[in-house]
Symmetry: C2
DNA sequence: GCGCAATGTTTACTTTGTCAACATATTGCG
DNA sequence: CGCAATATGTTGACAAAGTAAACATTGCGC
């Protein structure tokens, strides 16, 4: 059997997997189409058969990461059936953990210019309307919003409005994630414990 | 008088100013040393007389932006002498406004790989220690922490600990800023009003 | 004034994204 | 089954951009 075959078989998805590895090890700035191609044992221009250009590969990787993120959040919620407060707290921690475990994902999901284009293609929040915050269906963050909504229903006396609550929860966990990943807050178990304690103190 | 002189006079700082403009118009990905040089009317390699490489110029620009950010926060605090809650609320809004007004700054201050190096060079939080969150002196975020500390002193009965409070405030405004800049939350006056209302509901 | 350090320029090399032309495998259709 | 169309890969080449080396010009301290 030859060491090298002409047709790879599943290059399209291996490019995503290898690309993710390279993002992990070399960072966003070190991410190179040629590196990804080499990791897949194909010529430097082979990726162009599957993605129009570098940006499209990154967009595909982003989509992949987005699904992983959504799954992680949904798993967290599942841990606490019939306990809206527990769900919200677990989801918040999962949100932070996902990004501290995979720092490059945060840049991928929230910082590449490519995101703007993706959002225009359907993965977008409805533009600002008077009726409040809504998300396109199947957006990973819809999981977050639904969890917040369930929590709010279970706490009729809450002084916060629905949108204020969404913004508080989402902003808090997103901000903590960002600050840790950026290095402005120290990573490590102590910080995660503090984050957990902080989330808990707001929710309970 | 010739249209072109050999010695620019103050290239080092004009590179920062022009670089900032290019970041604004072309984004981080479109930022090019050659473009900056051209904007300053010097040859493509002239910047190398003042900065070792592209990263160092970006680091210098970042420092410049950091100072502007710090100034903005300090101005916000000054608006409410002897009113810790008002200071905190005003600072939170200023934090968000600064980044929604200058979206590229957020990437600059929190996303470039260069930041890691800068933090190692002194602009760093003390690595995680048991005694809580502290910042290197003169760090822009020390303004935030001091404001939080004043607020906490004025609210002795607060159930939140000091570190939880810092993390809450910082995380919240940072998260909201990030989500708006990333495009996951709609920009615009409605959103800013909601953010303001949300901050206010937590602080007061 | 003169020499040296600071500041700019020219040239050239390397990496990387991308296109065009060509090669090979796969698939669908008579 | 045989072949044409299509999908997938390869090679070669070019342009943009970071950067180093060698050279040019200016200005400052003695």
């Amino acid at each position: 059997m030859p060491d090298k075959i002409y047709h790879h078989g599943d290059l399209k998805s291996e490019l995503i997997r290898e690309g993710l590895k390279i993002l992990d090890t070399d960072g966003y700035d070190g991410f190179t189409l040629r590196k990804v191609a080499k990791a897949c044992n194909v010529s430097q221009t082979a990726p162009y058969r599957h993605y129009k250009n570098k940006d499209e590969l990154i967009a595909a990787i982003t989509l992949y990461a987005m699904e992983a993120f959504d799954k992680r959040l949904k798993d967290a919620v599942t841990l606490h059936p019939n306990d809206p407060a527990g769900q919200l707290q677990e989801l918040g921690l999962a949100y932070i953990l996902f990004f501290t475990d995979n720092p490059e994902y945060l840049r991928l999901l929230f910082l590449s210019d490519i995101q703007k284009r993706m959002r225009e293609a359907g993965f977008a929040i409805d533009s600002c309307n008077k009726t409040g915050l809504h998300l396109h269906q199947d957006h990973p963050f819809s999981t977050l919003m639904e969890t917040v909504d369930r929590y709010k229903s279970a706490r009729p006396g809450l002084r916060l409005g629905r949108d204020e609550l969404v913004l508080s929860c989402w902003g808090l966990v997103h901000g903590i994630s960002s600050l840790i990943v950026a290095g402005d807050l120290p990573a490590g178990p102590d910080m995660l414990a503090l984050a957990d304690k902080t989330i808990r103190s707001w929710i309970v």
